[in-house]
Symmetry: C2
């Protein structure tokens, strides 16, 4: 579904598009989804017209940012799964998702509030992520590393919640590590 069926963009157009995505990712992540589109455009060195040609809606831009991030996380998670034991992979992925989700909560919230619902592309990549997490969880439970009564919804909620915890905590590596210890201890069987 994510093939390259689009006709090749003109050189400058492709450059602008990529630049917009990068800048938007950075700005939205650090300052929240409320930043005006015009500011994103200026930071990327283009006019708003250009921005809206590439992303017909602010929501579309947000969505593109989130999808790209999800895809990155999914890919890295796949690597981890292939390379490590179930238990180790599970906890490593938990860390990965939490670290990469910084500030993402606001996006999805905005998206859900704005559009009728999240769009097709997002549903697609988030479904892939869910499937991966479900596998990961099942494997870890089979290996006895995670309490067996935990479901996928709880795991996802915990991922989001731990992300919120970290956001609240700020940059204090030792404290962040202690949070991981608490959550991981809680996840293991009694």
């Amino acid at each position: 579904m994510s093939g390259a069926q689009e006709k090749p963009l003109r050189a400058d157009a492709a450059r602008n598009r990529a630049r917009l995505l990068d800048i938007a990712t950075q700005v939205f992540t650090t300052r929240g989804a409320g930043v005006p589109t015009e500011e994103i455009a200026r930071a990327a060195g283009v006019g708003v017209g250009t921005l809206f040609r590439h992303f017909p809606t602010k929501e579309a831009l947000l969505e593109a940012v989130v999808v790209r991030r999800l895809e990155t996380i999914t890919a890295r998670t796949a690597e981890l799964i292939a390379r490590a034991e179930p238990a180790e992979a599970f906890f490593a992925c938990f860390r990965l998702v939490v670290e990469q989700s910084a500030g993402k909560g606001e996006f999805t919230r905005t998206l859900a509030a704005a559009g009728v619902d999240v769009h097709a592309s997002l549903q697609e990549s988030s479904a892939a992520m869910r499937a991966q997490l479900a596998d990961l969880l099942a494997e870890a439970q089979r290996a006895g590393a995670v309490r067996p009564d935990l479901g996928l919804p709880e795991l996802i909620a915990l991922l989001v919640g731990t992300g919120a915890t970290m956001e609240q905590l700020g940059d204090e590596p030792a404290a962040r590590e202690r949070i991981f210890e608490v959550v991981f201890d809680g996840l293991r069987p009694r």
Copy 2:
């Protein structure tokens, strides 16, 4: 500090003010802080002029809602502290704060983003809450019920984060209970 130094409000004015606070609490909690002030006013059966007389700013209204909630929680927490053993009180209060914080995250976020910083009244009641939590934590740690390396900032972050977890999870009592088990297990010493 929270004495009654204000001159007595006229009967209708007092009624309107109370009604506005109630409605605002309800509406903001269920639909987020983005709801237009006009809608709050209409739901309360008054004009926007009235709303803005009592709360000169939307931010002020949000703040009043949050302060009131904090005060409620603080009072109930005090009861629990007086009535139970340290360990029991600690976990009961954790539950209480998480349950009562549903949807509050967005408020504080909005507040922090809007005003220069949170206002005096909020700082006051949140300082009271912090002090209470610090006591609670220290007592529970002395009783050996909570891992000793946990600080107040981590506790607060966990409260917020667990609130986010619950919000994400929705209304599924069994799942919510499992989340509490995970977090509480993680909080206890190894």
